[in-house]
């Protein structure tokens, strides 16, 4: 979104290095993410795009041997700073994973999970409203409104992924990270999710890692191309796909390697 023609930057990564033990996985990544836009991260497997995504909500903390260096500013606040509260950070930055991972709980409990642990609802009614709006925003409400108290694991793959999106947006995050959200889904479910992403960007900043170049071209406004742990090129999706500066990007986009 541009205010008075000026790009609003939501996330600013500066010189980010990531190490798994002694092995360096990301080299010197600097990338600006625009607010209320979809940014796609593309690149061959193992290039570090998912690792970068996991830096943005500090999910790499979960991995013992992983260490992150550099600055990541979200709303001008460095999330790698010691004073950063990971719980608050992850409340602001939601995440959707490659494989749908609904909790072994009911649909309702899945969506109310975040609001419950962040104490966002004062009453049962408020919670009901949050669950309903989240499911509506995730375009799942009509399909599941009669069986909110059935297990979430009983849904189809596409529905499960939309449930995970509903779970992520239930706490009204500013940013949603999506790690190959459609790679386990069929084309119809993929189309539904892509449509949803387009809708969600009105209220959220979205960063999506994808293997499908067609998907990146369809859903994103900006694209970053990763290769061997380096950010080769980034810019508007139009430019990257039509007129990339770098030979490697060109080769990857046209399917010559990767």
């Amino acid at each position: 979104m541009r205010k008075n023609g000026v790009k609003m930057i939501k996330i600013k990564a500066k010189d980010v290095d990531v190490f798994y033990g002694k092995k360096q996985a990301l080299f010197n990544i600097s990338l600006d993410i625009e607010e209320n836009q979809v940014t796609a991260l593309i690149g061959p497997s193992g290039c570090g795009k998912s690792t970068f995504l996991r830096c943005l909500n500090r999910m790499n903390d979960v991995i013992d041997i992983c260490s992150v260096k550099g600055e990541i500013l979200i709303n001008d606040f460095n999330i790698n700073d010691k004073s950063c509260d990971v719980v608050r950070l992850r409340e602001k930055i939601g995440m959707v994973f490659q494989k749908p991972n609904p909790f072994p709980k009911t649909l309702y409990e899945n969506v109310s999970y975040g609001p419950t642990i962040h104490g966002m609802a004062q009453s049962k009614q408020e919670m009901d409203e949050i669950v309903e709006t989240s499911l509506k925003k995730a375009a799942l409400w009509e399909e599941v409104k009669d069986r909110l108290h059935e297990p979430g694991t009983g849904l189809s793959g596409g529905q499960q992924q939309r449930l995970c999106i509903a779970r992520a947006i239930s706490v009204r995050p500013e940013v949603i990270l999506m790690d190959e959200p459609c790679s386990a889904l069929d084309p119809i479910a993929t189309a539904q999710i892509e449509e949803l992403i387009d809708e969600l960007k009105k209220e959220h900043t979205i960063i999506i890692v994808t293997h499908s170049m067609a998907q990146a071209a369809r859903v994103s406004q900006n694209t970053g191309f990763f290769h061997l742990g380096q950010l080769i090129e980034h810019g508007s999706t139009d430019k990257i796909f039509k007129n990339p500066d770098n030979k490697k990007t060109q080769d990857y986009i046209t399917g010559r390697f990767g």
């Binding site: 909500n57 999910m59 979960v62 013992d64 990971v86 719980v87 608050r88 950070l89 992850r90 409340e91 939601g94 995440m95 994973f97 494989k99 991972n101 609904p102 909790f103 072994p104 709980k105 999970y113 975040g114 642990i117 962040h118 297990p151 694991t153 995970c164 779970r167 992520a168 706490v171």
Partner: protein, 461 residues
């Protein structure tokens, strides 16, 4: 003799394997395509060696003694002896021929013992001849039959199938046999002692049954108030309850610590260490309970002005709980570790802390396995014998005071079956009745556990 023969047959088996394979290679060298790998031809011949040997061996084992006996006794059958006398004569001559006879040796016994020996040696040598010739004949027949297009793979696979089936059948039949022996003895027991008295009686005092003179006729009335099982059932569940009160919290918490909090290094050392607890023989736990924990509790109680028996349910139950900790901790560690990482990631990504994630996501997901591990622990607690015998006494008090001594089903079975015992006596049969009830209780527990787990699985998978 049998051992040599057996070794020889095994060697024959290997030889026929070798020849079968060799013949297959020979066929192969003539550029004909085989229907199976050469090994199958070898196995095929080895099976043709094993089956006749097995059949003849088992027939021999079944019929040899009967035939020998018939042959020996046929000499005396027309001389007016009674059947019992003849049987006795046969047993005596058998014992004499083995050099185990201690009684007076009469010429008659001596003669039949000699005959027994000669018959046995004839039987042995004819067995060797018959087995070996049968094997050679069948292997030779099979060897001639195999050709490039003979089917060897299917019979070999079928044979393996049959062997595996027999193995599982043996396990099942043993179980069935044990259950039936329990059932019949239990039925006999309840013919003397009314079921009602057993289930609802509140006095368990089997020592009363020990004083019966076996020449006297069985008088059911003298057993009233002897075999009332309520106190020992209550004791069993009470001690198991105390044990689980110790084992569940500690086991579960250490399981969660190992699975979720401990670093790889700590886990690497802590887990085997905890599992060592499971390897300690229960008898060691038993004297630990009887010699250390029991007296300690007694002193502690006395200093607090409480009356504590040296053999208390608390000591036995507490130590039993420690014994069960590794089962619960190790199993729940395993099920918690096997909860997919994606669920943890999902929860952390929502901003949940570690303890919230464990409480709200991981624990519910792992619950079926955890319930399973707890019920396994309960079965162990109910079936545990040594600790109770040593630490909680043998007097079946009906009490809910953990500081008094009480007894359990297993401990009472020990009491009943130590020392002299006679089949067909209510005292002995009481052990079977107790065993049967123990079996039923554990069976019910297992069924309930399976139901609970299944219901939970259906809900969330």
């Amino acid at each position: 003799m049998n051992l040599i023969l057996f070794t020889f047959i095994v060697l024959l088996g290997f030889t026929s394997y070798y020849f079968g394979r060799k013949k297959a290679y020979t066929i192969q060298s003539t550029k004909k395509r085989l229907t199976a790998l050469p090994q199958f031809y070898g196995y095929y011949l080895a099976i043709w060696c094993a089956i006749p040997a097995f059949i003849i061996f088992s027939l021999w084992a079944i019929f040899e003694p009967t035939i020998v006996k018939l042959l020996i006794l046929s000499d005396y059958s027309n001389q007016g002896y009674l059947d019992d006398e003849l049987n006795l004569l046969y047993e005596k001559s058998k014992a004499l021929s083995r050099g185990q006879f201690t009684g007076e040796i009469t010429p008659l016994i001596e003669a039949s013992a000699e005959k027994y020996l000669s018959l046995r040696s004839i039987a042995q040598s004819s067995k060797v001849v018959i087995v070996l010739s049968a094997i050679i004949a069948s292997v030779a027949y099979a060897y001639k039959r195999i050709s490039s297009n003979s089917r060897t793979r299917e019979p070999v696979e079928k044979f393996l199938n049959a062997v595996l089936f027999t193995a599982s059948l043996a396990a099942i039949l043993t179980t069935v046999g044990i259950v039936f022996s329990l059932i019949f003895q239990t039925i006999d027991f309840f013919k003397v002692i009314p079921l009602f008295d057993f289930v609802f009686g509140t006095h368990w005092y089997p020592a009363k049954a020990f004083v019966r003179d076996s020449s006297e006729a069985l008088d059911p009335t003298m057993y009233s108030d002897t075999f009332g099982a309520v106190p020992i059932f209550a004791g069993t569940f009470f001690i198991a309850f105390i044990a689980m009160c110790v084992a569940i919290p500690i086991g579960l918490m250490s399981g969660i610590y190992l699975a979720e909090y401990a670093s790889t290094k700590v886990r690497q050392y802590a887990k085997p260490l905890i599992e060592i607890l499971a390897g300690i023989p229960t008898v060691v736990y038993g004297f630990f309970a009887a010699l250390t924990v029991g007296p300690f509790l007694k002193e502690l109680g006395t200093s607090m002005g409480l009356e504590v028996s040296a053999e208390s349910a608390l000591a036995a139950g507490g130590v039993m709980g420690i014994m069960i900790i590794p089962f619960i901790s190790s199993l729940s560690d395993d099920v918690i570790t096997s909860v997919p990482q994606s669920l943890r990631d999902g929860s952390y990504a929502m901003g949940a802390t570690k303890s919230e994630t464990i409480k709200r996501v991981i624990f519910p997901a792992a619950l079926p396995g955890i319930v399973g591990s707890i019920l396994l622990g309960v079965s162990r607690a109910i079936g545990e014998t040594m600790i109770v015998v040593m630490a909680s006494g043998l007097a079946a008090n009906l009490t809910l005071n953990p500081l008094e001594s009480t007894s359990t089903i297993t401990a009472q079975i020990v009491v009943i079956l130590i020392g002299d015992q006679a089949f067909g006596d209510p005292k002995t049969q009481a052990a079977f009745a107790l065993g049967m009830s123990l079996f039923l209780v554990t069976l019910c527990l297992n069924i309930v556990a399976l139901r609970v787990v299944k219901k939970y699985r259906e809900k969330y998978e």
